[in-house]
Amino acid sequence: MPRTSFTLLSALTAVMVIALAHNSAAQAKKKIGFSVYDMQYGFFQEMEKGTREAAQAAGYDYVLVDQKSSESTMVSATQDMINQGISALIISPFKPDALGPIVDAAKEKKIPVVIDDIGGGGTDYDVIVISDNEKGGVLAAEHIDSVLKSRQNNSKKVASITCEPSAVYAARRNVGFEKRIKELGYEVVATLSGHSKQEEGYRVTKDILSAHPDVAAIFLGNDPMAVGAAQAVADSGKNGVKDVYIVGFNADEIALQAIKAGQMGATIQQVPREMGKMTVDLATKLMKGEKLQYSSTDNREIYVPVNLITAQEADTLLKK
């Protein structure tokens, strides 16, 4: 035992020595650090792509960490990245509420913080680029209304399926949707969670269909679930456009394909890649110390338009 503790000590001292050696080496090129929500999702893969390309185009070094949908990983990994010395931090937080320690750490090192989507968690970030989730929901509601109006079977029943309960900000999509659709005189017969998963979206939709065979449209908090839902509708011998109008969120590739294949109605497009690019530009400005143009100054937000994607837009998008 004493021998081990001795080795332990000597080991630590040795590592410390190496530490000094490393610290002496300073880096010249500016480095942009991006901390991404979870690379398991197509949406964030797109966002990461946009960010990376923009950063490299602007001639920055670029480092990435994946929060793997865990808040403690988000904080620790991002802080590690800050410790490694970056000139600007771009982050799409898994839990905006947990941004506090990260922003503090960044401020300590005078590093500008650009938040990419999801939410700012009321922290002292420099700017947040956010696609208006609630607006997206409203968009979906109005689109559904217009579609259903044009139809004979005027069932006023719609359903709304949320992402996992802990994804507070994604929930706003459904909030916006439900508020608007009610105003338009529809009945929301079911608000359930599909845990952001394809298979769950499928299962829940099936349940909804057997509870309310006459449901006219379903809005889902993200595209994987929407795709699942579309398949569920198909499996119960109906169609995701003509019979039960399925609307998703994100405009992921799978969704666009599904729309193209006539299996689901529409999706709300966010533009992750553009957002990535924007964040890099903003970071550049901040590093230069320029003023920014906010959409809403009080909480330093810059809105990214969300727009509706139906069959023809889907085609054009896929072409690109």
Partner: protein
């Protein structure tokens, strides 16, 4: 589960915990015809050594390699971060170590942590740090008490009982919080998760003190004795006068308390907490404990191992990130490390058997007799 592996005909080498060196020498003088490797494999109690110090050594080695190979690993700021990160799993792993040594198990720590963290943050917001601490620990304790009673009194197998409470607490947390995350960034509260004293992070200090406390409980108190006894042979423990039920309940309470404390630290660390905090936390904790050399079947294990394992996992995550290893690959690496570390003992046994078939002495090792008895006693049981 581990009890049921078909390995019972494996002879164990003889414990020479207290003075392996001297015994090694005496044996050497008696069995000269053994090859060096064979002798070492035969004479040292490898599983004991490995169990005690294996992971500690591995961790140190990893630190060395990382320090040399990874730019940016070896700097104070990074060490601080690694150590801090090790604490959040670590604190509740301290409790889990005790539970697993006692031959039980708690799958509900993840859910409990989420609930406690939320409680801690909300109470801190309303009433301040100390009440928050009390509240979090209390809630943890209560959940532990439920687990304990289910296992010891209702006599539901720990695995299922805690699986049940896991689902239960999870749902309750969502219902209580209505899915909302609580947030509080009061300096005095946040300090507990993020500050450091002389570049030693507070959470790590707490973690170490918990580990010391746990070790003290295990080795210096009657309770600790009972824990080992129950883990080693529950029926015998009962006959020997160990209050098995009471101890079992208390074990789960302890797990709950430590989890509550860890949860508060995490809440402070994140300035916030809510439902769905840290998915898969329970499995990380268990993996940490077992990686630390604690035997899943109970009866054996040490705190040192748990501490080392916690640091090792944190280091691993850190190093992988520093080297910009793809997140998907990271999953694979972590899993592999776990498997490698845990197959060491099995492989060692294999080797020992292999050598024992090859090497044989024509002369009888006088000193070897008692151990002959031992070996035979062990596997004829």
């Amino acid at each position: 589960m581990s009890r049921r592996k078909p390995r019972l005909t494996t002879p164990k080498t003889q414990p020479k915990a207290q003075k392996p060196l001297s015994t090694l020498q005496t044996e050497k003088s008696e069995i000269p015809e053994l090859s060096v490797t064979a002798r070492i494999v035969n004479q040292l109690d490898w599983d004991l050594l490995w169990e005690r110090f294996g992971i500690a050594v591995v961790t140190i080695v990893v630190w060395f390699i990382a320090g040399l190979a990874t730019p940016g690993f070896a700097n104070v700021g990074n060490f601080v971060s690694v150590l801090r990160q090790s604490a959040f799993v670590g604190v509740s792993a301290v409790g889990m170590t005790i539970a697993i040594i006692a031959g039980t198990f708690d799958l509900s720590v993840g859910a409990t942590q989420a609930l406690c963290a939320w409680v801690a943050v909300s109470v801190a917001k309303m009433a301040g740090v100390f009440p928050a601490f009390l509240a979090a620990v209390a809630v943890g304790g209560v959940v532990g008490l439920c687990n304990g009673s289910l296992v010891a009194l209702v006599r539901i197998p720990a695995f299922i009982a805690t699986l049940g409470t896991m689902f239960l607490v999870n749902g309750l947390t969502y219902i209580i919080t209505n899915g909302q995350t609580a947030r509080f960034s009061g300096k005095s509260f946040v300090w507990w998760g993020n500050a450091q004293i002389m570049s030693v992070p507070i959470p790590f200090i707490v973690f170490l003190s918990c580990a010391l406390l746990g070790a003290a409980m295990l080795h210096r108190t009657e309770f600790g004795r009972f824990v080992y006894a129950i883990g080693s042979n529950r029926e015998a423990a009962n006959i020997a006068g160990v209050p098995v039920a009471k101890v079992a309940i208390f074990v789960f309470v302890v797990v709950g308390l430590f989890t509550g404390l860890g949860a508060m630290l995490l809440g402070a660390r994140l300035y916030s907490a809510g439902p769905g905090l840290e998915p898969g936390f329970e499995l990380n904790v268990i993996a940490t404990v077992v990686l630390g050399g604690t035997r899943l079947a109970g009866g054996r294990g040490s705190m040192l191992g748990t501490v080392a394992a916690a640091i090792l996992f944190a280091t691993l995550a850190n190093v992988l990130n520093l080297n910009h290893v793809d997140a998907f690959v990271q999953r694979v690496v972590v899993g592999l490390v776990l498997l490698l570390a845990l197959s060491v003992e099995g492989v060692r046994q294999r080797l020992a058997e292999y050598w024992s078939r090859r090497t044989v002495s024509t002369r009888h090792p006088l000193g070897g007799r008692r151990s002959a008895v031992a070996a035979i006693d062990e596997f004829t049981d």
